[in-house]
């Protein structure tokens, strides 16, 4: 089955049609879950990155901030995935045809890879060089902000 066929099947499934039939205020609620997840995720990344860049919370160990923000990041990602799927299901073929949707998915994949590899390693050790820490922070911020921007663009094209 091709991706397009999969998207068509999702949209025409009883689940896709059910979500699509719901009141527009329910869809507004789904959007609220999405922005809540996005804010939890982005603010955690911003907080960690400010610390890695030496621009804030310098008296607090990096590992401690990473530990404290971890649950916000994963709850945020969970909310984003759940609400994102509900947004996708009733109009999957529209998303399929939208370049920014695919840009967002690629950026998301890259951001997640960086997060669980480089970023995780850096935020769990205190002995990292300042340059590596700064590079990780800038890369992570750029990728996650890219995800957020691409997301905002989807609705306009």
């Amino acid at each position: 089955m091709s991706t397009l066929e999969l998207f068509k099947a999702l949209q025409t499934s009883s689940f896709g049609r059910f979500i699509g039939s719901l009141d527009h205020l329910v869809h507004a609620g789904i959007q609220l879950l999405h922005i809540t997840g996005m804010l939890l995720l982005l603010s955690s990344i911003v907080l960690l990155s400010l610390r890695l860049l030496g621009l804030g919370l310098r008296q607090t160990p990096i590992a401690e901030i990473a530990n404290a923000t971890s649950r916000f990041i994963w709850v945020g990602l969970g909310l984003l995935a759940f609400s994102g799927f509900l947004m996708l299901a009733p109009s999957a073929t529209n998303y399929y045809a939208n370049d920014f949707f695919w840009d967002k998915l690629i950026l998301l994949a890259l951001a997640l890879i960086v997060h669980v590899s480089l970023f995780r390693k850096i935020t769990r050790s205190e002995s990292t060089s300042a340059i590596t820490a700064r590079f990780s922070a800038v890369l992570s911020l750029a990728l996650w902000f890219g995800v957020a921007f691409a997301g905002r663009f989807i609705g306009f094209f």
Binding site: L32, M38, R152
Partner: protein
């Protein structure tokens, strides 16, 4: 000139028209509004949770609040400037929405809460900020801030859904 007339003038202005008609301007401004929110309301979330003893509770409050303040305020400036641009682009429609007026009201209340907090507790932060259990007034300000800014985000996101087409 009434507020509604002013909104119509902003809507009809060159800037308002340009924002509406450009393919990229509006989504870029919206993206920046979201980034501004992550710095302002997002970083404030961590400060508020610290005040409630739910985030980095072993770190003195001042060590969290003071270094984040310039970023937080910078985030609010970005959110405000982009918010004004988003308003100008659709001013004549948004000004008629009750949900937008509620949003402005919640922003005003959240601002008053922040000013009151700075006035009442700001100068003595090095004393109470080290205690295991924070004063009730401090916790109250934290809860009020969390609640009011959440309502600002919720009413803001509802604007396009409650718009009259």
């Amino acid at each position: 000139m009434s507020v509604i007339e002013l909104a119509q003038q902003l809507y009809d202005s060159q800037l308002g028209t340009a924002l509406r008609e450009s393919v990229y301007a509006f989504p870029i401004v919206e993206g920046l509004h979201l980034i501004g929110l992550a710095f302002s309301v997002g970083l404030l979330l961590f400060v508020d949770l610290r005040l409630l003893g739910l985030f980095l509770r072993h770190i003195p409050v001042a060590n969290i609040m003071n270094p984040l303040r310039p970023w937080l305020l910078g985030g609010f400036v970005l959110t405000l400037v982009t918010g004004i641009l988003l308003f100008i682009a659709a001013a004549s429609k948004i000004i008629l929405l009750p949900v937008f007026l509620f949003k402005l009201g919640f922003i005003a209340l959240a601002g008053i809460n922040a000013l009151w907090f700075e006035h009442k507790w700001g100068k003595t932060i090095l004393t109470w900020g080290l205690q295991d259990v924070l004063p009730t007034g401090v916790k109250f300000a934290g809860i009020a801030s969390l609640l009011l800014w959440s309502l600002v985000v919720i009413t803001g996101r509802l604007i396009p859904y409650l718009s009259i087409e």
